[in-house]
């Protein structure tokens, strides 16, 4: 099931994502401050940030949901402001909040996505069935999503986001609120999407285990600015001998992991945790 297009992109050594002085302000508050990032095709890349430090603003801009206040970004070769429709066709996105409709079945959720992405009618059912099978949801395809477990919902959301075979997959806190077993099943699927389908994966996380487990490269945001970037090994070496990812994060992320974030952040995180629990 390898995706030839994605493989050739990786081979060509192009950039999946490139930002230049990307900035977003809300009133006087600067959530993302002149961020320069370059992510090559092919890897699994993590954005680490303390709660509230730009929160999901950066990922919303990269997925064309939010316009930048200044600066530019190219995602999958297209400018996010000038060609958002092209970007949307080439990316998949799993937001932190629920993106599957609980009042519909898994099959219906996927069918809706397939039609919104304009998948050919003749292939539609087959593609939906394939995605369900790939995510291990075939048996529960015709049950309402509100009866799913947290891990199943996450896998369904992954299925939704990969249905149109994107080159880049964005995930916002993919394992927040999941139990360890469900976490492992999500990691396993992400690794498979990366290796078998050649999808470039970009995710935000504050789970250091996830970084060690999955990621080839990380960038750390602090107060809206890019504080550090590199491979986990490089960053650990920069902090000191036998440093862990947690030490790296504390060092570059301003020494706070769980602090910060306002009422809205807290509410959102709790809600996500609750519905997946």
């Amino acid at each position: 099931m390898a995706n030839a297009e994605n493989d050739s992109r990786r081979a060509a050594g192009g950039l999946a994502l490139e930002t230049e002085h990307l900035t977003r302000r809300f009133g006087t508050f600067t959530a993302v401050d002149r961020v320069d990032l370059a992510v090559p095709y092919g890897g699994i890349f993590a954005l680490l940030r303390p709660n509230g430090a730009g929160k999901s603003t950066l990922i919303k801009m990269l997925t064309t949901l939010l316009k930048p206040s200044a600066g530019t970004a190219r995602v999958a070769g297209f400018d996010i402001v000038r060609a958002p429709a092209e970007v949307r066709r080439l990316i998949g996105y799993v937001p932190q909040l629920l993106s599957a409709d609980g009042a519909l079945t898994g099959f219906e959720n996927l069918t809706l996505s397939a039609r919104l992405y304009g998948l050919p009618r003749a292939e539609l059912k087959q593609r939906v069935d394939e995605a369900l099978q790939y995510m291990g949801l075939t048996d529960s395809a015709h049950q309402l999503v509100k009866s799913y477990s947290g891990g199943m919902i996450r896998r369904l959301e992954l299925a939704q986001a990969m249905l149109h075979r994107p080159s880049i997959l964005f995930l916002d806190e993919p394992t927040i609120g999941l139990d360890p077993v469900a976490c492992m099943s999500v990691w396993d699927r992400l690794r498979a999407l990366n290796q078998e389908h050649g999808m470039t994966i970009l995710m935000t996380t504050h789970v250091m285990e996830e970084v060690d487990e999955l990621c080839d490269a990380v960038a750390i945001l602090h107060q809206g600015r890019l504080a550090a970037s590199g491979s986990p090994a490089q960053l650990k070496a920069a902090v000191g001998e036998s440093a862990s990812m947690t030490d790296v994060f504390a060092h570059f992320g301003g020494g706070r992991i769980e602090e910060g974030g306002g009422y809205r952040d807290a509410r959102q995180t709790r809600m996500t945790a609750k519905r997946l629990g």
């Binding site: 949901l65 937001p95 304009g118």
Partner: protein
């Protein structure tokens, strides 16, 4: 680019899923039957005794039935925007907006599904009228025209509701504004009394109120010998143009829900 057919297919995909949800939990449809019964069986019965309302040669109950249908359409549609606030609170809206589906198609899909709710209202009103022996036109052309008007009227007010939801963004504020809007829209229209009875200022308001044009069209199509203030084509044109403008505005505002 999306061809008109692809555009419509995406709208229908949205509408189809909304309908499935509605049919799984149709309680809302039935509870909406209560209000028109009250208006027709109580308010209508009493007011049909008043002879001073210049409505021509028709019974007051027959006169007000199209007005009550328009009212049910308005009331069912005006709170439809709450659906996108739910979408926003849950996060489902991200899935819709990150897809390459044109924003206009998402909005149109919601309008179509609101239209179906309106059709159910029309069926309910016909049943009530039948039970109360209110004499209405039942020729196929008239009934078809009524259903079209109800679809269009539901689309207009549900899209209006969506615009408001995009502006206020929270459930609490939306419910407040919805309550504030419905009665003025209803009273500043020709739903239960003719335009000719209104003071000039109120008539001016009624003339820019889309509900007036919906009622006018319905009255011509439902009441035997019912006369409108405007032509049928004129009424449909006004509703169609208002709808088109609302869709464009809503398509612009919809993405701002997640900012």
């Amino acid at each position: 680019m999306n061809s008109p057919i692809e555009f419509l297919d995406k709208s229908l995909a949205i509408a189809q899923m909304a309908l499935r949800k509605l049919l799984r939990d149709p309680m809302e449809l039935f509870s909406r039957a209560v209000q028109p019964v009250l208006w027709l069986a109580i308010f209508g019965q009493v007011f049909s005794q008043v002879r001073g309302i210049p409505i021509g040669n028709v019974s007051y109950l027959a006169y007000m039935t199209p007005g009550i249908l328009a009212q049910s359409v308005l009331f069912a549609a005006i709170f439809y925007g709450i659906a996108v606030i739910w979408e926003r609170d849950l996060g489902v809206i991200h899935k819709l907006l990150v897809s390459p589906c044109p924003r206009g198609a998402l909005v149109l899909g919601k309008a179509i599904s609101a239209g179906f709710r309106g059709l159910v209202q029309a069926v309910i009103i016909y049943l009530i009228a039948f039970a109360m022996h209110i004499h209405l036109r039942t020729d196929p052309i008239a009934v078809f025209g009524v259903l079209m008007a109800v679809l269009l009227g539901s689309a207009v007010f549900s899209t209006f509701s969506l615009i408001i939801a995009c502006i206020v963004k929270t459930r609490e504020r939306f419910m407040g504004i919805g309550q504030v809007l419905t009665m003025p829209l209803f009273f500043a229209s020709n739903a239960i009394y003719p335009l000719s009875l209104m003071p000039t200022w109120l008539r001016a308001v009624a003339n820019v109120n889309p509900l007036t044009y919906l009622v006018d069209a319905l009255r011509m199509l439902m009441v035997e010998g019912g006369q409108g203030a405007h032509s049928l084509i004129g009424n449909f044109t006004v509703l169609g143009v208002v709808f088109a403008v609302f869709v464009v505005i809503a398509a612009k505002l919809y993405p701002t829900l997640i900012e």
